[in-house]
């Protein structure tokens, strides 16, 4: 799969795993891949930095809006738990274990391959990866949370 990836695209994947670990999550989602791309090729996501994007990622598996609909304020729970157990205490998983790529991330990698084929590019670069990632709902949400427009980012590519 990665044989046609240029070096910076490989770096993006490695950085995505590092971001996932740093956040204490156990699955590399497209949002983590977005952070990886921003680390590997900062101008692609500019003016948004990798740090900004990383801090906009929410723990997977928790839908705050849905919880709020039954009267649970997840932010309040997180605040209380972190006050006792430290930052990231409620993050998803065993950070010491093996990281898995989320199915959406695998899909994005395949999509990146297709983007490259469509453009008749021989190699897969971080720009193809980003193009594929921008189709992901959560990725768009992370970008919006940082105050940018995912569509605009896509148009620039």
């Amino acid at each position: 799969m990665f044989t046609r990836f240029v070096q910076s695209a490989r770096t993006a994947v490695v950085e995505a795993q590092a971001a996932t670990r740093a956040l204490g999550h156990d699955s590399v989602t497209p949002s983590h891949m977005l952070v990886g791309v921003a680390r590997a090729e900062p101008e692609l996501t500019s003016p948004l930095t990798a740090e900004q994007l990383q801090s906009a990622i929410r723990a997977p598996g928790i839908d705050r809006r849905a919880l709020a609909s039954i009267g649970i304020d997840y932010d309040a729970v997180e605040r209380e738990v972190e006050a006792s157990f430290g930052p990231g205490a409620l993050a998803s998983g065993r950070t010491c274990g093996q990281l898995a790529f989320a199915p959406e991330s695998k899909k994005a990698l395949e999509l990146a391959l297709r983007e490259a084929q469509d453009r008749e590019d021989e190699h897969i670069g971080p720009e193809h990866l980003l193009l594929a990632l921008l189709d992901d709902h959560d990725v768009a949400e992370v970008i919006r949370r940082c105050g940018a427009d995912p569509k605009e980012m896509k148009d620039r590519l």
């Binding site: 928790i62 839908d63 809006r65 919880l67 709020a68 157990f85 010491c96």
Partner: protein
């Protein structure tokens, strides 16, 4: 009122998509809280027996779920 609560007001609570998502999110939250609390109890020297009693489950169940055995504990920092 938080942003999330305000958002929720716009959503009908009869919408199954929201209701089911809430259940799934609650389950995720529960699992994370349980892991955190069990780890904390172990670090404070609680036995599996004590933890199981507090969680109202069998000792076997809690050990199977959180015990992990040699491999996991070795991997831990």
């Amino acid at each position: 009122m938080t942003e999330a609560t305000k958002l929720a007001e716009k959503v009908s609570s009869k919408d199954p998509a929201v209701g089911l998502k809430a259940v799934a999110s609650l389950r995720t939250l529960l699992e994370r809280l349980e892991r955190l609390q069990v780890e904390n109890a172990r670090e404070q020297g609680w036995s599996w027996q004590q933890i199981a009693a507090a969680l109202d489950v069998s000792k076997q169940a809690v050990h199977k779920k959180h015990g992990g055995g040699g491999l996991l504990s070795r991997r831990r920092k």
